[in-house]
Symmetry: C2
Subunit: 211 residues, 2 copies
């Protein structure tokens, strides 16, 4: 390691970029494992086997199991954002953005971008009896998602695209409820209930639309 | 075992009743473990330790782990039914029955009748990547619950207590959605969201009420 120094930037950059690529490859596998079997099923040994990486390298990249779990949560949320980004960028009005967010959720689950469907809904239940940093991170990410929904709906209301009388907090809650049920339905193989969640979500938005 | 025969009914009855009491005691512990840590966390070894029963006895009473998981699912649903039974029996109209079903769900979770909240919502996610008899049983029980909600709402509509235009399938879906989100909120310690689910459920029923 003695050749790494401030004066040796190109080498360090290359090294960092190799490290980022390794991290990304490991996190892809971590997300798939945790999506299907939960964050507790994400052991360093299993991950090493599936990603084809030495256990010691995973420990160097991520530290302990809990740090790995937290990194996996953050990675999955980046994945979800990246999935929705093109359609969100193409949306021309605030209401259009809301539709894209809602449609994007169903598409993400249905296309099995992760084997276990919606990661956040799936793993939140897992931590019901496990207070600590992982549960705190999941709670924080859930609140952030709710805030994004409330803000997007408020922007649509302020733009006159949805009725001023609509309670955006409640509407956000309802849309997220349908996703929570849809995710369990998907988990358990109930396709009809998943599709009902999607069509009721679309209808709620149609009803809220002004004009 | 040679003393057990058709001609020896009192002894057999006593024996069976002792067996039932052991089963019940073990299942109480099984429900608590699975509610908090999932049905996969329900190992025969751990259960033996917590219930203070020999592993071999649990194997005699329940067979293998999968049979124990199925027995635990059925036990929990009996527990939920017993919890709601007095209020349901006291309900004087079909609409009143619906209210009792909805209020009873929130009360069951809030009073921590099981440490992990709503068992069905909690463990369904756990089996998202595990097809088989346990997932099938969970799916079947979820469908049965939905049917009970639809039938109770239809009875209230037929009695003229809710508006005839109400789509009872959709209303049942919505009420169950709020529970799905409330259960994740409860799991993760988000009390405000849990209470929002309860008040939105009550409001939905108020809006559906005829007259």
């Amino acid at each position: 390691m003695s050749d790494v120094s401030e004066h040796d930037a190109p080498t360090e950059d290359r090294r960092r970029s190799r490290g980022d690529a390794s991290r990304a490859r490991v996190l892809e596998h971590a997300a798939a494992i945790a999506s299907a079997d939960g964050l507790e099923g994400l052991t360093i040994g299993r991950l090493a086997g599936e990603a084809g990486v030495a256990k010691s390298n995973i420990q160097v990249l991520f530290g302990d199991k809990q740090s790995l779990q937290l990194a996996t949560i953050d990675w999955v949320l980046q994945l979800v954002e990246a999935f929705n980004a093109p359609a969100l960028a193409a949306a021309t009005t605030p209401f259009e953005r809301v539709r894209v967010m809602v449609d994007g959720w169903f598409a993400f689950v249905e296309r099995r971008m992760l084997p276990g469907g919606c990661f956040m809904n799936g793993v939140s239940s897992e931590f019901r009896a496990r207070p600590g940093p992982v549960r705190d991170r999941l709670a924080e990410r859930r609140r952030a998602k709710r805030r994004r929904y409330v803000e997007a709906l408020a922007a649509a209301r302020d733009a006159g695209e949805i009725w001023p009388a609509i309670d955006v907090e409640n509407l956000a809650f309802e849309l997220l409820s349908y996703q929570a049920l849809a995710n369990v339905a998907f988990a358990i193989g109930d396709e009809a209930e998943f599709q009902r969640a999607r069509s009721i979500s679309a209808r709620r938005l149609d009803e809220a639309k002004a004009g």
